[in-house]
């Protein structure tokens, strides 16, 4: 598969996530769109790692070029899991204080 297909697929998913963040008001759906953007980036990293691996694979069948990128994806997943736990705790606290998860209520720092 040409690398462009993977890049365009990842860009599409990323931009869908951006549109979700910009248009929705429910804090949980905004958060889910951020997860979608993280996953688009993960997919792109894996595709690039396989692109570099494919170039090196032609000469040496046992090469491990590109394994670093897949470990980066692993670390992104680790950080995303930690981020989700804290973020959902913040949303639960928001709901306890304002009885809503509407992000437009979060304007107390405006004035």
């Amino acid at each position: 598969m040409p690398i462009q297909y993977y890049i365009i697929l990842s860009l599409t998913l990323f931009c869908i996530g951006i549109v979700g963040v910009l248009t929705r008001r429910n804090a949980i759906i905004v958060f889910m769109c951020i997860e979608l953007m993280l996953n688009a980036v993960n997919l792109l990293l894996v595709a690039f790692s396989k692109m570099h691996h494919g170039a090196a694979y032609l000469t040496d069948k046992t090469t491990t070029v590109g394994a670093d990128a897949q470990l980066f994806v692993f670390f992104i997943m680790v950080v995303a899991a930690a981020e989700v736990s804290v973020g959902l705790a913040i949303i639960v606290m928001l709901h306890r204080n304002t009885h809503s998860v509407d992000v437009n209520f979060l304007n107390r720092l405006k004035n």
């Binding site: 549109v19 910009l22 769109c33 396989k50």
Partner: protein, 167 residues
């Protein structure tokens, strides 16, 4: 068109359509379920790229743990009943225009880039996605980041409990 190509297009279409359904669903529970479909499609892409470890981790961590956490929070707050208030039309319109123009610009940039024109992705072959290779690299070259991420997990755990508990 081989099996790989057919699977690629099927999984891509599934991912994009489900991602759009995440946006358009009225109920947050439906959004979570569509997002799980997106994660399964992306895991399918990983398997197609022979990144088996990441495919399994993606299903376990994202589709399993994180999405269950989301569902728990939604059920805890009983969000399904009252409808979400919509932004007014022009705010939504501006959001769609902003995201769409970013997509168009980046896609045209990809089409112009000469370096990647003849590059292809190695499908189905290559052994870097296997857990043996990744484990060796992880515990030889990336031990320190691995240990630091365990500290990050501990602090995230403490932070979530401190934020989430009642006064």
């Amino acid at each position: 068109m081989g099996v790989t190509q057919i699977l690629f297009w099927f999984l891509s279409a599934l991912a994009v359509i489900s991602a759009l359904m995440v946006l358009f669903s009225k109920s947050p529970v439906h959004s979570v379920l569509w997002l799980i479909v997106v994660f399964f499609a992306i895991s399918g892409h990983y398997i197609l790229l022979n990144a088996q470890f990441l495919a399994i981790v993606n299903i376990i961590v994202y589709a399993g743990a994180i999405m269950v956490l989301f569902l728990f929070v939604i059920m805890l707050m009983n969000l399904g009943k009252e409808g979400e208030k919509q932004n007014n039309f022009w705010v939504r319109f501006a959001g769609v225009v902003a995201g769409g123009s970013l997509l168009i610009e980046l896609v045209s940039l990809v089409k112009q880039a000469d370096e990647i024109h003849s590059k292809a992705v190695l499908m189905k072959e290559g052994n870097i996605g296997l857990i043996e290779v990744l484990g060796k690299v992880l515990f030889k070259n990336y031990v320190v980041p691995f240990e630091i991420s365990s500290v990050l997990f501990l602090s995230a755990m403490v932070g979530a409990i401190v934020i989430g508990k009642k006064e």
